[in-house]
Amino acid sequence: MVTLQHYLFLSAVLFTLGVAGVMIRRNLIVILMSLELMLNAVNLSFIAFAKYLDSIEGQIFVLFIMVVAAAEVAVGLAIGVAVFRQRGTVDVNDINLMKW
């Protein structure tokens, strides 16, 4: 029997992997991918809640999250391309002009 707990735990582990990716990796594109991983973990818990609480709202919300994620990826990658043209790298250690 698969309960809500199972899905929530899977979602938590996926989210943690995303967090680890953002903190460990220094490649801008991989960091964006880890962000996607976190958004997907949240989507999974939304869908699981939609099933186990018996309401369709979770699924609607996931659709909106997907739209926002797609917009975010498009803009993020565009910024990545622009940064690469300017600095010749996508390593976030080297992109520190606005950091300090």
């Binding site: 698969v2 309960t3 809500l4 707990q5 899905y7 929530l8 899977l10 938590a12 582990v13 996926l14 943690t16 992997l17 995303g18 680890a20 990716g21 903190m23 460990i24 990796r25 220094r26 490649n27 594109i29 991989v30 991918m33 996607e36 991983l37 997907n40 989507n43 999974l44 869908i47 699981a48 939609a50 099933k51 186990y52 609480l53 018996d54 309401s55 369709i56 699924q59 609607i60 996931v62 659709l63 997907m66 739209v67 926002v68 797609a70 917009a71 498009a74 803009v75 990658l77 565009a78 910024i79 990545g80 391309v81 622009a82 043209r85 010749g88 790298t89 996508v90 390593d91 250690n93």
Partner: protein
């Protein structure tokens, strides 16, 4: 049967997510991200969210990941940037912090639902497909957010074009 499916799909998703985070080359990361997306779509199917599962496959595994691949090819990272990730100290700090985060989440999850609530059936009537229910909600109750989201997409398109165009100066 459902439990077996769940564990297989969860294993696929988790293992490929680990590869997404820890493999060196960005192209490999993208490929395993696609596997993760497919596993998640399978989980969505298991949760009777057929429409969202298909959108996941088409939009995420199809469009978004191809966009990632496209940008990686465009930047040609393999030659320019030979994977200078993860100084050891930072890696351990990151791993410890995210593990701490996971430990923090455990009791919170347990607290919300001590024992999983039972599966109801009202939103999943027979005779009405999942797509039909989603569409009905989306175009009645959530019509305004739906329209606003289209404006957001337009803004994202314009922003992307403006940010990534070549400066002539």
């Amino acid at each position: 049967m459902e439990a077996v499916m769940f564990y297989v799909l969860a294993a696929i998703t988790l293992i490929s997510a680990i590869f997404v985070v820890f493999l060196r080359r960005p192209v490999h990361n993208v490929v395993f991200m696609i596997v993760t997306m497919i596993g998640l779509a399978g989980l969505f199917l298991l949760l009777h969210a057929e429409f969202v599962a298909m959108v996941q496959l088409i939009v995420y595994a199809g469009a978004v990941m191809v966009l990632f691949l496209f940008v990686i090819m465009l930047l040609n990272l393999e030659t320019v940037n030979p994977a200078q990730d993860a100084r050891a100290a930072r890696m351990w700090v990151g791993a410890l912090l995210s593990l701490g985060f996971l430990v923090l989440m455990g009791p919170v999850l347990k607290m919300i639902f001590p024992s999983g609530p039972t599966v109801g059936a009202a939103a999943f009537q027979p005779g009405m497909s999942n797509t039909e229910i989603v569409a009905r909600e989306l175009f009645t109750t959530y019509l305004l957010p739906f329209e606003i989201v289209s404006v957001l997409l337009l803004a994202a398109i314009i922003g992307t074009v403006i940010v990534s165009r070549k400066r002539s100066g």
